[in-house]
Structure formats: structure tokens, C-alpha cells
Symmetry: C2
Subunit: 238 residues, 2 copies
């Protein structure tokens, strides 16, 4: 029987990782068609696409008859479906702020998905200023909502929610695939990293990670931009 949810994305973590962590944590099986099936969707004339979209991920919820694009919309939708949103307007909004921040970090680390390539000088500046600032934003948001006392009301709540899963999908995946960055993350966002690691060690998520490791190795965003990122990381003197 086909799964209720189908996720169309390139065979890499990157922007679909948030949806995958949520689906895995919810114990929901999902299909991920191969690249050929994705390309059929992606290259179809706009009028023929089941949801008109510019770039994957695309989610299909067969039960709700919904096709959806845009990572924040998808993640937020799955979170609601599985009861993983906080459930108050304020906390739901802050959860979507976290999702927006996560996506911005992906875009920052890839110079907007490869619009330019990394060079050592630009990387050094990013790694000394902007990336630490991002990490401090996550850490401060967590602390502001009780994470430092292990009584979090947004991150590190009793039951993992979308914000926790998104943090883990971002930072654990980076540690898994770009381990050169782990020390910097631990330095500027120790509590968020500890939380992310706890989430990453949950059986369902650990299984997803092991499966991805086996299939994709350390692939993160793929392409020339990943080559360029690995090249500056190799030269990087902290």
C-alpha cells in the first residue's frame, strides 16, 4: 500500500530534512520517489504541475488530497497534522520563526543555494561573524524560553515539537555531514546542540540518520556549492 505522504526532493538532506525528521518522529512512513519522478514534476509545464512550484521540496498528502511546496509551509503543515506544533498563536508563530531561521542558515551556508561559490576570505568572515551570530540567535531564543534550565517552553519542551525537530534537522545534519563545523556550533550554541543531539539520538531519528549515512554518505547540499564549501572548510584555520 502506498504511504499517505510522498515527499519529492533531491536525494540529499538540505531543505527536505525538516519534513523528514518530522515524519520519522511521528512514526509515519513516507515515499520518496527517485530523481526521475521528481524531474517529471519539476520539469512539467506549470499548468501540469499538481501544485505550481519553483523548486522542491514538494509534499503530497494523499489522504487530504493536498499537494504543497515551500519548506516552511510543508514543515508547519506536517507539524500541525501530527500535533507537534505548540498550539498557541504565539508559540506557533515562534516555531515558524525558527523554521525561517533554519532555512536562512541553509541559504547562508550555500551562498543562496550556489548563487556564488565560496572563497577562503568570504568563508572566514562568514565563519567568524555571521554563522556565530546565527548560532547565538538559536541559543538566545532557546534560553529566552527556558532551554537553559531544562524546562523549555519552546525548545526542549517535555515532548519534542517542530522547533526541536527543526533544530536537530539543521544542526545534527550539519554535524553528521560537515563535521568541521561541529566545534563552532558547540562553542556558540551549546544548549541547542545538546538538545539537537538528544533529538538526533531518538530511535526513529537515529534510524533515519543511519539510513541516510548509508545511502548518501556525507552529502549535504550537493553540487558545485558543496564542493566549494568543502574546499574552504579544508583550508579553514580557526
Amino acid at each position: 500500500m502506498p504511504a499517505r505522504f510522498t515527499l519529492y526532493y533531491w536525494p540529499i538532506p538540505f531543505r527536505a530534512q525538516f519534513a523528514r525528521y518530522i515524519l520519522a518522529h511521528a512514526g509515519e512512513a513516507w515515499d520518496e520517489p527517485d530523481v526521475d519522478a521528481l524531474l517529471v514534476l519539476y520539469q512539467a509545464p506549470i499548468q501540469g504541475q499538481p501544485v505550481p512550484f519553483m523548486a522542491p521540496p514538494v509534499l503530497h498528502d494523499a489522504e487530504a488530497d493536498l499537494w504543497l511546496s515551500q519548506a516552511v509551509a510543508i514543515t508547519s503543515y506536517l507539524g500541525e497534522r501530527f500535533g507537534l506544533m505548540p498550539g498557541t498563536p504565539e508559540k506557533d508563530a515562534l516555531t515558524r520563526k525558527v523554521l525561517g531561521d533554519c532555512l536562512d542558515v541553509l541559504h547562508g551556508l550555500t551562498l543562496n543555494c550556489g548563487a556564488a561559490m565560496w572563497e577562503d576570505e568570504g568563508w572566514a568572515e562568514f565563519a567568524e561573524e555571521r554563522l556565530p551570530r546565527w548560532l547565538e540567535i538559536f541559543e538566545a531564543l532557546g534560553s529566552r524560553h527556558g532551554l537553559q534550565s531544562d524546562q523549555g517552553t519552546l525548545l526542549g519542551t517535555d515532548e519534542p515539537g517542530v522547533a526541536d525537530l527543526a533544530c536537530a534537522a539543521l544542526w545534527v545534519t550539519i554535524c553528521d555531514t560537515l563535521p568541521e563545523l561541529e566545534e563552532l556550533i558547540a562553542q556558540h550554541a551549546p544548549k541547542v546542540l545538546a538538545l539537537s543531539r538528544r533529538i538526533g539520538a531518538l530511535p526513529t531519528i537515529a534510524e533515519l540518520r543511519a539510513d541516510q549515512k548509508q545511502r548518501w554518505g556525507n552529502l549535504w547540499c550537493e553540487g558545485q556549492i558543496e564542493e566549494s564549501l568543502r574546499s574552504v572548510l579544508a583550508n579553514w584555520q580557526r
Copy 2:
């Protein structure tokens, strides 16, 4: 008496325009502090920011004691507060897809907020391919949900919702400030442009537009990237 909502942003339309259209349509007065007040927030150490954030817009809802960043989170939150979200998980998700698409168009038109500058050749390619594709995505999404028959269930519904207001905040603002693009928009997204114009002509929105026109003229995203965009638009042969 201070307004319930305070919106911190540069004195330009761009990424805050979605929130402004919603606030105006909801008949809610809001404060927009001047650039000095924004800079105090923006340049504060992360720990001292009322919500840790990388870039404005930032919204303060005094009644809910909420500080929020990230345009999609803010817009979606305001939409919920004012009962302007569709109210079903599927339609709410598609509304957030529209918001994500709107932001992507802003980023596309500014080469990711000025990460690079426009040159004639790159612009011609964008204007011939990617921008028409974006417009067709909006148009097809509207049509898929009944916009073409004037019985829209997502865009062009009986009462304007967040998706309508977001479309208007994007396309009407572009027509208001970058009129060179209006013909292209009309060509590839005629129904969405007609809808956007209807929203833009509502008294509350028309008043906002007139006020912005008076204060900001045709300023759109400001800075070198706006100069660069205007320069390629001046040379552009359709």
C-alpha cells in the same frame, strides 16, 4: 495611546509590506518607529534583543507580549490574529506556500537582497524565464483554486484573506514602484494582477499606498541593488 502592534523595518516597502497590508486591511493602527529605533534593536547584542533576530522585519504585539521576526511567521501570525487565514489545515498551508513564494520573488528580484548586482544580460534572462515562471506559478495556483471563475477558494475568495493581501502587497507594490514591470506581470498573471489591483484599491490599502507614495516616492528595496535594478530596467528591451 501607543498602538497594540509595532512594526520595525526600514522605511521601504519590501519585506514588511505583507504585514502592512494585513494591518491596514484589518483596520488596525500600528506604530513604525524610525530608523534610529530600528538600529537600536538591530545592533543590540543578541542577548539584549527582545527576540533574537538576524534581520528585520520585527513585530511587537504588546497585548500578547510577543516579539517576532521572520516575514512569513509575522504575516501568518497577523493573519491568524485578524481571522484572515482560511482556517483549514490545507488552505492555511497553501497560504503559507503563497507567502514563501512572495518572499522568493523579492529575493529573486534583488539577487538575494543585493548579494550581487544586476547586469543587463542576467536581467534579460531573469525577465524572460524566471520571473514569467514565478508569475505563472501565482496564476496557475489561483486558477487551480477557482480564481479564473471569480469563485476563488484560495485567491479571490469572497472576503480578502492573507493570500490575496500578500499577492497585492507583492504585485501592486511592484507596479507602484517599478512600473516597467507592469506589462510583464499583466501578460503572465492577468487574473492575479486584476485581483491584486482590486485589493490595492480597497480604501484602507489605497490610503496606505498614497501615504507611502508621499513619504517614499517609488522606493522599493533601497540601496545599490535598487539602483542596479533600475539601471537594467532602463536598458531593458522587451
